[in-house]
Symmetry: C2
Subunit: 380 residues, 2 copies
Amino acid sequence: MCMGRFLLMIPGPSLTDPETMLEMAKPTLSHVSAEFDSIHREALDMLKKVFGTSGDVVVIPGSGTAAIELAVRTSVRPGERVVVLKAGYFADYLADAAKRVGAEVTVVEAPVGRGFTEDDVERVLSQRGFSAVLLQHVETSVAVANPVDRVARKAKEFGAKVVVDGIASIGGMEMNMDSWGVDVCLTGSQKALAVPPGLAIVAYRGGFTPLVDNETLYFNITKLLKEMESTRNYYITPAVNLIYALNSSLKKILAEGLQQRYRRHEALAKAVQRGLEALGLRLVAEEGFRANTVTAAYVPEGVEWAKLYSEMHSRGVEIAGGLGFLRGRIFRIGHMGEVTANDVVATLAALERVLAKLGYRVEFGASVRAAQQVLDVYGV
Amino acid sequence: MCMGRFLLMIPGPSLTDPETMLEMAKPTLSHVSAEFDSIHREALDMLKKVFGTSGDVVVIPGSGTAAIELAVRTSVRPGERVVVLKAGYFADYLADAAKRVGAEVTVVEAPVGRGFTEDDVERVLSQRGFSAVLLQHVETSVAVANPVDRVARKAKEFGAKVVVDGIASIGGMEMNMDSWGVDVCLTGSQKALAVPPGLAIVAYRGGFTPLVDNETLYFNITKLLKEMESTRNYYITPAVNLIYALNSSLKKILAEGLQQRYRRHEALAKAVQRGLEALGLRLVAEEGFRANTVTAAYVPEGVEWAKLYSEMHSRGVEIAGGLGFLRGRIFRIGHMGEVTANDVVATLAALERVLAKLGYRVEFGASVRAAQQVLDVYGV
């Protein structure tokens, strides 16, 4: 497998620090040893800072989908009336999880490219009593970000629980569960936390007690919380080497400084957005709903997605396509975690060459120039 | 974290090849790229050989417990009468999983140290109609192995499905699902497959159709089987870097040769068993039910488990204790995966020094001598 210095510019798994990767190659410790427990606990404590919670954080081997299931099972009761705010493809995962625990699920859909404001939430919650609001922080499929702070505060006015899928945001965009009133927030390791895939992470707001109504063998929150207290309370075997990587990456994240990191993500996002627009491309997400971790744009008329992908690929840049009904119609660039301004500039430049080759009219340097202006303002 | 050249002699996670570890440090490929799909498919094909099946194999991010849940959800229907053959602690995981899908579960318990013969199975299945038999291949908690080949053949005479937890056996002890009639067999990455923890693996016998009755968001076998066909059929993000390690380790396993590998495990097991007995220690598993991947012995009178552990630990050897009611009463040595004769000899020697220090009467070299005689016979 030849991978070389490929630029993995997809919205997760994301580019990682080589040091993080080497952490994984360290010898596997016993999962119940004092040494590993200390590494594990340190990672959990750092995660609490990233989530902005004084509550519990649970990390288990799993994909983001496992985190969604654990989060929903521990926050939604059978028969409960809940609403899923759907901005794209991944909202269906939340809805599916809620239906499967027996909740009465209403899905409210936003037009493509839009998220939900507090006014939308007010409208939805005024119409009908919902005891929980479920939504994505960043809906990766369309690169739409919801203003979770305002959504959560509004939902709280109605006494509704707030469950947030932060898979494509945590570590790259601000989250303050305790002060915003986000009761449950979940993520995966492979996005803005800049760790390879394989860890499902669920955080609870301080004071929020996870529900035990829907436990399964694997998603047994009672046992998992005990194991999080100490890995000596063995229930399932943690992904030891991925926890090393998580611990290492979280140290880098906190050393960079959360606010500084969020600002860097904002800079890269705006650089990519301005860059794509300078090429005359249309962004999928509307102004005001654009994520700082991923950008989606429509594949221009006359260009084929498959060719766009393979030409970028052959230039050492991996980008992502659309999901569901947007397959073939949009492309997505991830710029989260350890992605740098250098990666972003190189990606835009490659895109210019590729689009030109595919017959799309490009002024070489146009997107890079636009991006440079943003990066300069941010001092990145 | 100081780990050095520690001997991880616990029954999983097990010692791994440093090359396998370095595989994990390779750059993360896009999970939907052709490059990764090929690595992934190759790993699945190799797993089929290890399981001895022409059926499907599913690998997802998860611990062994996730594999148990997926296996049981796809093999046991609500209301079905099933029997769990309990030889120790981990049988409760199988029983719990089956109960949670609504099966009517009977647990038949063997005395500590014993497993189940075909006669036991005949007796159990004659008494009452059970549509499925669930059991561990190796019950790690007591180092007991069940003769799964004979158990499965007997169960088949009664038309019962056979679900086997092979977490502590697959890759170290023979499994031939197709010819033995094992319908579903599960394992984890971190045992005899010699990969770090984080992958849950479930294999189906050729011709066996996984049930879709108990799907959850994560354990959605319909979607997972499609993703196994090609990772381009994205449903959940695979643990890309762990799959690299799995692929690499499976290549080593097949290069060693399955029969050769099983024989090596047998040699190491007998060496440890003879070694411990030469020190006057009592093994937990009875002759005829001893696993080739792990050995358990009673902590001798006058010796404290906590001290035994810490003295071994300070000599660079990590061993495991008892689980449940055997906590503090037994200790366990794992000898699976990439563990070598050198590791086994060093472990026995360290144990001699530790036991002597703790006041237990030891003839230095006695356990090593006994082990040597076994290793010599096997030519290891």
